[in-house]
Symmetry: C2
Subunit: 211 residues, 2 copies
């Protein structure tokens, strides 16, 4: 498998995969890049080029087998295995994440929840007991996880991320408004709705001023 595939391409694959899953469920057997593109707001050429990084999955004159392509993407994205996830920070947001049904269905098993607050530690959330964050480090040694979701207060984000990374966690999804630093071999994504809103207001302001 070639090693130099642009990150933008990787980021689009889950989008393609999502649509293919839906088509699969609807019983569609074949689909063209044209149709995928229309549905997703992406040019057909882009989809074909993206997929061509990984192989020749289509048939000229026909299109792509929905099942075959979904399968290939599952393999490429590593969705043919289950991934172990831990959520640190069980405030309102952490609780919403912990009970979000979309993770389990896609191969992500939330195996543990952590919080620092004594009033939360020991309570049950969606059938899982909230553990004390002070035991995070040693727990990870016994039961490693692949992905850490961080939903703690911003001020302790870096500290929690460091603990996760030092214990071998390779991917971090940071829901905190604070940016954190990790080694370059660790995958890191930030989800910060305020930044999204702030770039939207740029456009809103211009619309309001009648362009």
């Amino acid at each position: 498998m070639p090693i130099d595939i642009p990150d933008v391409v990787i980021d689009r694959l889950p989008l393609y995969y999502r649509l293919l899953e839906r088509l699969e469920a609807e019983g569609r057997s074949v689909v063209s890049s044209q149709e995928l593109g229309t549905e997703l707001g992406v040019t057909p050429a882009q989809i074909r080029k993206d997929l061509s990084y990984f192989g020749r999955f289509g048939k000229q004159g026909r299109g792509y087998s929905v099942h075959r392509l979904a399968d290939e993407l599952r393999q490429i994205l590593g969705l043919d295995t289950r991934w172990r996830v831990t959520v640190v920070g069980i405030g309102r947001l952490g609780r919403a994440i912990a009970s979000y049904p979309g993770f389990e269905g896609q191969g992500f098993d939330i195996i543990a929840l952590y919080d620092a607050s004594p009033s939360l530690v020991g309570t049950e959330i969606e059938g899982r007991t909230v553990r004390d964050v002070s035991s995070l480090r040693e727990d990870l040694e016994r039961e490693p996880v692949d992905i850490g979701i961080v939903a703690v207060p911003g001020e302790v984000a870096q500290e929690v991320v460091d603990t996760l990374v030092n214990a071998g966690v390779q991917a971090i999804l940071n829901y905190t408004p604070n940016r954190v630093q990790v080694r370059t071999d660790v995958e890191l994504k930030h989800i910060n709705p305020v930044l999204f809103l702030q770039s939207m207001t740029y456009h809103l302001k211009r619309q309001r001023d009648e362009r």
Copy 2:
């Protein structure tokens, strides 16, 4: 103000702004593109080029006045006014959003909450009464909002978004896993953690296979 500024640039401004706010709070008065870049993991040249789309805010040999630059960015991004926001869908996620303290502090006023469930409608969340989504349309006519945050079940996302857009809402933040379509003059952003995880597993898989 020139009209052709790349979207990637706009998306980085809130990041710069966030850091400047912090520096402002710390009492720093001057900062160089070098320092901003190190802190944010962006090249200094990029920061200078980005800012140069909007004006000449720095002083050669010195750097940028923290206060002045923060002020300029506030104006550019439209953060010098308050924005009216409504949240539709008050499940666990909607509730987490509705009580997220980061919005109000940044000029976003959540003025109303909507849900379809009779058991939720009429209850109080963070001092706001949850209204019935069936009155969304007429409410918007009386009290327009700028931004709609959508946290309903995926199946009704498009329907809710249509209602919002038809009533004049210009920006949508979609927390639903379903992609939705809007007119090109409406700002739209999607937040879907599963897509993030799925692109991270691509890299995890390769790391696991020892590259």
